[in-house]
């Protein structure tokens, strides 16, 4: 109903659709960029494109799916224009100096189960290199498959898989680091 009215240029229908979908679109933009100002601009651009193209929406897919895909494309175009720092396949998941001492990848003397809180995971996702973050958000958070990601990003399916693996490893590394820092801080406060 609101979609039909928006196709006719009804401002209230536009506003209704904006308020209905703004959180999902904005959250996607924020997770993919890790920057609130960019997320604001990109969410705005996504809605503008939505309303410019709404007459072409034929209803073959769900409206929210269509809008979501459109928003992803807006963010990807932006990252491409910005010169998305590609993360090469050779890049290792070795911690940087600021990450602290190196740990063996894959070694798990403590699992993360139960110890990952919202703040830590938000922070860890933000700290991912942009290429890794994009693929992690699209695959593990938004449910896109590797072939869809490869098509959207103009990369091979193998590249998408490889970067997802490295993103997960890097996230795990960051979260383990946060966990050990948290435990150390707790120990110091008790001493």
């Amino acid at each position: 109903m609101a979609i039909d009215a928006a196709k006719q240029g009804d401002p209230q229908a536009f506003e209704f659709l904006y308020h209905l979908h703004k959180r999902r679109v904005y959250s996607l933009c924020l997770r993919m960029t890790g920057n609130t100002a960019e997320a604001d601009d990109l969410a705005q651009e996504a809605f503008l494109q939505l309303f410019r193209k709404i007459a072409t929406f034929r209803g073959e897919s769900a409206f929210s799916t269509w809008l979501h895909r459109l928003a992803v494309n807006v963010v990807l175009m932006h990252l491409r224009r910005k010169g998305l720092p590609e993360v090469s396949l050779e890049e290792t998941t070795e911690p940087t100096q600021e990450d602290g001492p190196r740990r063996d990848i894959g070694a798990s003397d403590q699992t993360l189960v139960g110890s990952v809180d919202r703040v830590n995971i938000e922070r860890a996702i933000e700290r991912l290199p942009p290429g890794y973050r994009t693929i992690f958000v699209l695959h593990d958070m938004e449910g896109y498959e590797h072939n869809e990601i490869a098509e959207m990003m103009g990369c091979s399916i193998g590249n998408s898989k490889s970067q997802l693996h490295k993103a997960r490893m890097k996230l795990r590394d960051l979260l383990q680091l946060a966990q050990s820092q948290g435990a150390r801080a707790q120990g110091n406060s008790q001493a």
Partner: protein
């Protein structure tokens, strides 16, 4: 199965909760890989549960202003839009007033 083969296969799995039997079998026998799998599942599950966020500022005002500049928003509805919103068309009941359709030139 080698652990590095397991790691790659896990990343190729669209759904970490539905791994192929040979991967699950390896995870059951390998402490290192079972920890890795458990962590990946935890991270993905918790990341999906992150709450959606409200835009930092109200974007609607700017969006509306831009749509008006582009002539995509009308200040008076066409009958089809009224019908879509369930507004009764009163044009048959009264003398129609002149339509005030906002159509600013499209900005370039």
């Amino acid at each position: 199965m080698e652990c590095n083969v397991f790691e790659i296969a896990v990343s190729e799995s669209a759904d970490l909760s539905q791994l192929r039997p040979e991967l699950l079998q390896h995870a059951q026998q390998c402490f290192r890989c079972s920890g890795l799998l458990e962590d990946f599942q935890t991270i993905a599950r918790k990341a999906r549960k992150l709450a959606s966020v409200e835009p930092a500022r109200d974007l609607w005002g700017d969006i509306r202003a831009q749509l008006e500049r582009e002539g995509l928003i009308q200040t008076e509805l066409r009958p089809a839009a009224q019908a879509a919103r369930g507004v009764r068309d009163r044009s048959a009941d009264a003398v129609p007033a002149p339509r005030l359709v906002h159509s600013a030139p499209r900005s370039r």
